[in-house]
Assembly symmetry: D2
Homo-oligomer: 335 residues x 4
Amino acid sequence: MFNVGLIGAGRIAGVHARAIQANPDSRLLAVSDVNVGNATALAEAYSCRTASTDELLHDPDIQAVLIASSTDTHADLIEAATLRGKAVLCEKPVDLSLARAFQCMNATEDRQKPIMVGFNRRFDPNFRYLEQEMNAGAIGAVEMVTLTSFDPAPPPISYIKVSGGIFRDMMIHDFDMCHFLMGSLPETITATAACLVDQAIGDAGDYDTAVVTMTYTDGRIATIKNSRRAPYGYDQRIEVLGSKGLLEANNQFEHTVVKSTEQGVTSAKPTYFFLERYMQSYQNEWDAFVNSLRDDDAVPVSLRDGVMALACSEAALLSLQSNRPVALQEILNQI
Amino acid sequence: MFNVGLIGAGRIAGVHARAIQANPDSRLLAVSDVNVGNATALAEAYSCRTASTDELLHDPDIQAVLIASSTDTHADLIEAATLRGKAVLCEKPVDLSLARAFQCMNATEDRQKPIMVGFNRRFDPNFRYLEQEMNAGAIGAVEMVTLTSFDPAPPPISYIKVSGGIFRDMMIHDFDMCHFLMGSLPETITATAACLVDQAIGDAGDYDTAVVTMTYTDGRIATIKNSRRAPYGYDQRIEVLGSKGLLEANNQFEHTVVKSTEQGVTSAKPTYFFLERYMQSYQNEWDAFVNSLRDDDAVPVSLRDGVMALACSEAALLSLQSNRPVALQEILNQI
Amino acid sequence: MFNVGLIGAGRIAGVHARAIQANPDSRLLAVSDVNVGNATALAEAYSCRTASTDELLHDPDIQAVLIASSTDTHADLIEAATLRGKAVLCEKPVDLSLARAFQCMNATEDRQKPIMVGFNRRFDPNFRYLEQEMNAGAIGAVEMVTLTSFDPAPPPISYIKVSGGIFRDMMIHDFDMCHFLMGSLPETITATAACLVDQAIGDAGDYDTAVVTMTYTDGRIATIKNSRRAPYGYDQRIEVLGSKGLLEANNQFEHTVVKSTEQGVTSAKPTYFFLERYMQSYQNEWDAFVNSLRDDDAVPVSLRDGVMALACSEAALLSLQSNRPVALQEILNQI
Amino acid sequence: MFNVGLIGAGRIAGVHARAIQANPDSRLLAVSDVNVGNATALAEAYSCRTASTDELLHDPDIQAVLIASSTDTHADLIEAATLRGKAVLCEKPVDLSLARAFQCMNATEDRQKPIMVGFNRRFDPNFRYLEQEMNAGAIGAVEMVTLTSFDPAPPPISYIKVSGGIFRDMMIHDFDMCHFLMGSLPETITATAACLVDQAIGDAGDYDTAVVTMTYTDGRIATIKNSRRAPYGYDQRIEVLGSKGLLEANNQFEHTVVKSTEQGVTSAKPTYFFLERYMQSYQNEWDAFVNSLRDDDAVPVSLRDGVMALACSEAALLSLQSNRPVALQEILNQI
């Protein structure tokens, strides 16, 4: 049984709390949040105690820490928690600054405790099934990958302003998914983007619509399409063309009822947003983390994976700003 | 090359004329119709001549006759044409009277020329594919068959009144399809029916909604569902449960475009009616007839098949009237 | 907060225990089972105590009893629990004997405590959505209903022998679903059945394949198709034809991945069995029960509903044995 | 009635001949081909005469010429035919040389006779339906377009060598489709490509796998994905994200039969190649051409459209060679 401290008590922390309690090998011991009311509410809901983050990090009864606080605290907390001998599962991204993320990676590389980054989509049952089929050779050698990730609606402008931008905040998931599916990092990244959904997003210096193409040293090509708005719901699909066929992971839908009338045949929309679509993936992510701890195995998403996804985001941004393909190595060399 | 005389120049005759001309081994030589204007129009469209039915039946250049005139003429024309040494493809049904249909079968049984009944659905590419998979063992031993046949809208009451009723006019196709799929005739037939679509149909002594269950000596069960109205289009499906799986032949749709909006996901309706849905089946039916003539093979739908489909209709009607399961043999014994 | 006693600790009791604990307004207080080991294991898993059934029924702290013990105990326990002032949710069927079920209904009709029968499928989100659309007029007036319920594989013969047969054990769910959808009971029931899956089922006097047609006084027709074997998974579908269109509730599938190769396009099978498919429906069923208690509303599935589903089973069996349509009233008159 | 001369008697010419004869307002008068045997066979099949190309171009009875000969003859024949007062429908591409295509456009711009380029996909009923819905505002303002065009298998290397390469031979269809859908030309074109299917294609200096991203002055983004190999059949899809929803034109499939077994749910593959998939589009293309002639309307695909699609191909190639986004204007400036 692993005792867990949860840092952060916002919406996503609630999802994690639920996953921690549902795993028979883990137990939520304490929760901390700068907003004490949030911490108290979450603690009550899951019958654990509140603590300051510092208390939590020093509590010898806590073996693992889940970091779900604001992004700017992630790197510091990863370093502090591992220093105290805690295993860490940290929400993405590691930091908005690639340099700081690298620094964190270097600072913690000799520590004995596992650090996992929370790219939950790797644990989505459908994507996982696709990945298994792909790696089992169901469609031969992979040639082209396409990721479609459209949010149902843009977040508030206040969030956009501190998000790090569409590449670091949203497409980072897709960069990690490509890493996961391809088994290697891209050689070059070429980005295009526009502000088509809400002018306020553009005014904040960000984009709401983006397409990125990535090439791999062996010739494979990946394309990522992002939009901050899909009025029909959360659109999350993967398509892989291989030498022997095509694999598609389609959306999940709200129900299975089909209505046929004079007006046409109508079926359900995709489930609305990530809490519906990815609830299972958060559970599976936590279960995988606990299994790694229990079996003393490597965690399935390393801190380096988290840093590399951020490096891809950085390359995309540079590509967009400089209007040219950017080699990932160029980004890595700058660190 | 087979020279063909076409008796009848209505809508379905036009479909047949097209099929005859499209087959490289057949040629439309003459068309007859009690409505001379119809005959003339069709003859012009397909560059053939008009004739009286009698001339057509006596024309030594004509080897095959396609009977697409009104139902009450079918039996007489089958007898007359075969007497003159013509091969015959006759539209369904053979006659509305089972006794007359039997008489026609008996009267022509020694004639050397093939007689085929036009159950076009046997030649629908999707149903044919299902049948081939089924008979190739794709789902093991057949256990349960369900046929859904809903027309988009009821025909005019004037047609209903001379149609012979829903079992002889509409469900006869499904009785033949069951015969085709099962490879044998049912042992018992149990019918239920209602008038739910249009009270005028009920006033005419007919039904617009019917469900029939049939049992086979080896335990297999078939269910047929008919409605005169499906506002979303022509609904024509087959489902077969076997010991190793399920086969479904679904509808064909008007297009492949899917629209996803806040209101839901909308796709195309089934193709509207039999001219769209079964156009290919009429061509394949004719091609199969011509191939039989050319290769001196048995025609794929015999006159007996046509009579037996009518006997099933009769059994269903008796079941409904007597409120009990009716053995098909009981009907056959009455002849 | 309602304190709940759970009678029975088998597989389905585990599903109910989970639902009870997940509802914020109910708490599992005690579990009883003739098999003490089962009771102990379940009690440990859900942190409650074990008790004898008698203790449980006499415990003044328990307001509601969930009866998930063997079928032959249901009627007695319903009577005993309501006598002690407990609200009751009882698994289907009420009893295998219609007379005993009636007796139970009569014996408890004056008691003040609600009795609900566990027809979980009414609470399946997809079926519920279909029912809501239907009753909101999405397809106009209902004309024809078709229920497909195929189990993935037959239960053990030992279970078949005590099950009451396919109509009382399996199709009873569909009889209740028809009641739920139609809003009234059928006028006549006509059954056909066969033993096609496993001869041992036939040797036990039962059937594994059945089709039932039901008529309603207003002309509507319902068809139920049951098979004990669908090798591709649990096949649970509803189709409703109305005057303005068609509603279909399709299966849920194991995943959303589609593979296209030279061999064809392959997608997921339906979820395997009722624990996967109907897990949510058990939760929703319990939540509905608790809401009824809390709000002092009528329970959504009454004891009478449970008895009437059994009466339909009885009518189907009589129809099969006497080879004729059976009026439901004929069955009810016999009581 | 328009009399038509057909230049070329290869496979695609046969498709055109069929379309010409099926249109009630056009008639195939003569066919020419450098391979006299091909010309004779086609002329026999469609009951017309053979001619030399020169005879055909000088025949005063011929009002329209369909050019389906080899690509290197297109520009010369367009010029020659319009000089003789013939209306022209010319297969794509206008020429492999953009300079020559421009020259042809300039040389013919004052001629009174319409010149249409055969981008048949614009006339595919599904794509046309998508375009109509899109332009009717079904999904609001267009933001992102994705075209998937995968051939089932690569052509012979001998063809690859004279094809002009994947951008001029294959993706040119998609460039035109983007032009058609977007209603304007792209501002920039960025290409990536690889040789993953067959090394011999790479040895011939070509690619078999390519992804192109295009930006528009108003911020819209289009992505085109091409592969010379999709083992499951001809994969031809369009997806358009708009401010109010998503439109997808999916593939057409070989049949509608679905098989469900223990191994999964299997359905049909896409129709194999363009003759199956686009047969209707060739007919609709010809009908649109004839309607333009008859009504004295502008043809729906102009010679300029053909030249601009080629310019896009050229830009894609330059982007690939120079590893940078290329402005379409840069290409146009070079002419």
